[in-house]
């Protein structure tokens, strides 16, 4: 891709991000309910005190002014104070972000680890029992409501059989020293097997619940693209040349078959960020998704605005990366 095209694509992001900011601001402004009243709900406070709190939160300014202030600060990386935590929004979000990222990545890895081998095998042994079982399994994966399935897993594995912990990220005694903020990485860096296993035990259920629909989708994509590739002439040619089936598969077919899988994975990871909140709620995972939903309900405007902007940026960048990846990996496609 030429640098000019790259730049054009990047510049294209700006009106989109502006649009997102405007939409979320308008939505929050049009939503009835007042954060000051929510904060003082059911507690004694005079109308003067409520008004003082609203003033303190900066809510008595006209909406246009508030919007201007928000955008002006946002471009400088400042997103105001969380109305309830009364600390900078950027700080509150940054504290919860690693947990969400870790969960999303764990779900992604789970999905890939399950989907790719299954997809390849299903394609290779097309029509066999494995193919049919895998296809059915994937349909099951996209048909399960995550919150229901998650609760059942929780009751089964955590309560009934006591195999896995009920909630949280890690037990206190198993914590590795915090270097990156990502528990898995820190465990490996510190060389602590107990931390790693403890984190994985806590991650298992939420990651599986979150990653199952994605695994289903990716398996189908892998299978169908593998089938397409296997039909290609150059595969037949390679086999005719006398190369072993295994080598043909791994070296030639897989590389090309994985291309759609990777691009779809990049796109779906964006969707993972959105699917987080239900799983985080059920499993008590201390991530951003749960925080954002709670913030919408209590009308914590600055936090919702900043979080949505963050999601939008991430999603748009992921889209962009997917396109880029596609271009790089498939030289026949030109932007």
């Amino acid at each position: 891709m030429s640098p000019a095209a790259l730049l054009t694509r990047l510049l294209h992001l700006i009106p989109v991000l502006l649009g997102v900011t405007v939409v979320v601001f308008l939505m929050m402004a049009a939503t009835p309910g007042d954060p000051a009243e929510v904060m003082l709900a059911g507690q004694q406070a005079t109308p003067a005190q409520v008004a003082a709190l609203r003033h303190d939160m900066g809510l008595d300014r006209p909406p246009l002014e508030r919007f201007g202030l928000f955008v002006g600060h946002a471009v400088r990386g400042q997103f105001g104070q969380s109305l309830f935590h009364r600390r900078p929004v950027a700080q509150v979000i940054a504290e919860r972000l690693p947990a969400t990222i870790e969960l999303s990545l764990a779900a992604l890895v789970f999905a890939l680890v399950v989907a790719i081998p299954l997809g390849v095998l299903a394609a290779v042994k097309r029509g066999g029992w494995l193919d049919r079982a895998a296809t059915f399994g994937t349909l099951l994966g996209v048909s399960l409501p995550g919150f229901w399935f998650g609760i059942l897993l929780l009751i089964g594995f955590a309560v009934q059989w006591r195999l896995l912990p009920v909630s949280g990220e890690i037990d206190y005694d198993a914590q590795p020293p915090g270097v990156t903020g990502f528990l898995l990485v820190d465990s490996v860096l510190a060389g602590r097997l107990d931390s790693l296993l403890n984190t994985l035990a806590h991650l298992a259920l939420p990651a599986i619940t979150l990653g199952l629909p994605m695994a289903a989708i990716l398996m189908r994509v892998t299978r169908s693209s593998m089938l397409d590739v296997l039909r290609q002439d150059y595969i037949t040619f390679a086999e005719a040349k006398g190369l072993s089936r295994g080598r043909v598969l791994l070296v030639h077919a897989l590389k090309n078959a994985l291309l759609p899988t990777v691009t779809v994975a990049a796109l779906e990871t964006g969707a993972l960020l959105g699917g987080n909140m239900v799983v985080e709620t059920v499993f008590g995972w201390p991530g951003l998704g749960r925080l954002v939903v709670e913030s919408i309900f209590v009308r914590n405007y600055p936090l919702v605005q900043a979080a949505v902007l963050l999601y939008a940026v991430t999603f748009v960048l992921l889209n962009f990366c997917a396109d880029l990846l596609y271009t790089i990996l498939n030289p026949r496609v030109r932007m």
């Binding site: 309910g33 709900a41 109308p47 003082a52 919860r96 009920v166 909630s167 709620t281 059920v282 201390p286």
Partner: protein
């Protein structure tokens, strides 16, 4: 960084040198929500205060029977209706090592009162100090609260504030105080993983807590781990699985499961949150007192309390809880009498019944539907409408649209004083007066009681006001639920407090 590395030097040294010895007692708590902040002056949430009170102490605290007792204060007295003089205890130490003096107390309360004193913003807890205008130091062991008008309830309101260290706060600033702590409470902060857990360690230099609460001594457990588990089923599951020793906010219907489990038990205390159905007194049909009374006769409160709340609530005939100041025990109950309800409706001109809507938020949905079906059987055909809490509040505010008929709602009364609940919910046009009840006689009684310093007279004024309200039935009177906790049978030395605070001072896990 989410990984709070703000070790207080004292604890860091302990941990580095000697890891927790085997057999040392650890108490794990499953708690409903993450504290918003650790700054005692910068929040307005009861759950946040519960956690903060493990680390910090205040001038006053609640005993088990909710009487107000001195905590880091030694005593207080009104030297003037507008001046409260407080004498401080000796030998109260902060976890960082300093000794608490009057300077810390003055600093803490000035921070609460002054505009813009909390990181450029005003403390949201300022309103809890009412007409207090300043706190002045008299000497190293004495401070004075100066008020703009008499406010007899001030000592009770002091249970909602905590004392911070002047030196520490000036050193780390308001941003630092949100995530680091240096308090005078029984436990010191070791780590706070946002949204996940807090780890606290026993403070050996703890002054012992309120001497009025026997037995006064140091904490028995060495470490407290607070795990944040917002999902009800998961929290109860954690208790049943033995992952935690204590949980708060136990849902009423899980009582049987917890009691049936060999290792767990239920702990309960009469709560301080009154539940009621506000009727729209300004709109037909509930502008007629007979219709309102009919609604009260139509609801069989006992069956709802027995079936949905598992018997864990006390039916109320007014707004005050039995433990509150000035409670009137002689209020007549309306009782369950659907025939009488129909009679009253006919008298008021609604012989064919009426059609109304009952607003509710998600958590109260079950109760609302049960009430609706009882009302419908008595001729008050009710449809339930579930809304979002924030939206409903806006709609039912005195200056809101107020187009609903009924709203099942609640109001807390942590101080157990009428000024905190009777006034906001039933005084004409006050903030919490969703019913739109306007009675000048009641207003006069409430205003007079607010200024009356003779406690006996004050109580009588409130009793009279309650009697009037009971007769006029601006609400469907409901109940006062108990606060329910689940605990491991190994947990001893702990009792639940109606204020919602967790006093872990004497708690032990055997």
């Amino acid at each position: 960084m989410r990984n709070n590395a703000a070790f207080i030097a004292f604890f860091a040294a302990c941990l580095a040198a000697a890891p927790l010895a085997a057999g040392a007692a650890e108490l794990r708590i499953g708690f409903t929500s993450d504290p918003l902040t650790l700054d005692p002056a910068n929040h307005r949430s009861r759950e946040t205060e519960t956690i903060i009170r493990l680390i910090y102490s205040g001038l006053a605290a609640n005993a088990l029977d909710m009487t107000v007792v001195p905590d880091v204060a030694k005593s207080w007295q009104w030297i003037d209706p507008k001046i409260l003089q407080v004498t401080l205890r000796d030998g109260v130490k902060f976890q960082g090592g300093e000794t608490m003096t009057a300077d810390d107390v003055v600093y803490s309360f000035t921070r609460l009162l002054k505009e813009g004193a909390v990181g450029g913003q005003t403390s949201p807890r300022k309103g809890l100090l009412g007409p207090v205008t300043e706190v002045a130091k008299v000497d190293d062991r004495t401070v004075r609260f100066v008020l703009s008008e008499p406010w007899p309830v001030l000592p009770a309101m002091l249970t909602f504030q905590e004392v911070v260290s002047k030196d520490f706060t000036e050193k780390v600033g308001t941003p630092g105080l949100a995530t680091q702590a240096d308090g005078t409470g029984s436990f010191g902060l070791v780590q706070w993983r946002r949204g996940d857990s807090l780890v606290l360690e026993r403070f050996p230099g703890f002054f012992g807590g309120p001497s009025d609460i026997p037995p006064a001594g140091k904490a028995c457990v060495d470490r407290v781990i607070v795990k944040i588990i917002p999902e009800n089923a998961a929290r109860v599951a954690a208790l049943l699985a033995g992952d935690v020793d204590l949980i708060n906010d136990l849902p009423a219907h899980d009582i049987r499961t917890v009691e049936a489990n060999a290792n767990t038990r239920v702990a309960a205390v009469n709560g301080t949150r009154t539940f009621f159905v506000a009727l729209n007194n300004g709109k037909k049909p509930f502008d007629d007192v007979r219709v309102r009374q009919a609604a009260n006769y139509a609801v069989d409160r006992q069956v709802i309390i027995d079936r949905i709340l598992n018997g864990r609530a006390a039916a109320l005939n007014g707004v005050m809880s039995p433990a509150a100041f000035g409670f009137n025990p002689d209020l007549p109950a309306y009782g369950y009498d659907p025939a009488k309800a129909k009679e009253l409706l006919a008298e008021a001109g609604y012989a064919n019944g009426i059609d109304v809507m009952l607003d509710t938020d998600g958590p109260q949905k079950d109760t609302a539907e049960a009430i609706a079906s009882l009302l419908t059987r008595a001729g008050i055909r009710t449809k339930v409408q579930v809304g979002e809490a924030a939206q409903l509040r806006a709609r039912w505010a005195p200056d809101g649209t107020r187009d609903g008929d009924m709203w099942i709602s609640s109001w807390g009364n942590g101080s157990l004083d009428p000024t905190d609940i009777f006034v906001p919910t039933l005084r004409t046009k006050d903030r919490g007066n969703a019913a739109g009840y306007a009675n000048p006689e009641v207003d006069k009684l409430l205003d007079a009681a607010g200024l009356e310093t003779d406690q006996a007279k004050r109580a009588e004024l409130y009793r009279d006001a309650q009697a009037i309200v009971n007769r006029q039935a601006p609400w469907i009177f409901l109940w006062l639920p108990q606060d329910l906790y689940g605990a491991s049978k190994r947990l001893v030395g702990w009792q639940p407090l109606a204020s919602g605070m967790l006093n872990l001072r004497d708690a032990c896990v055997r």
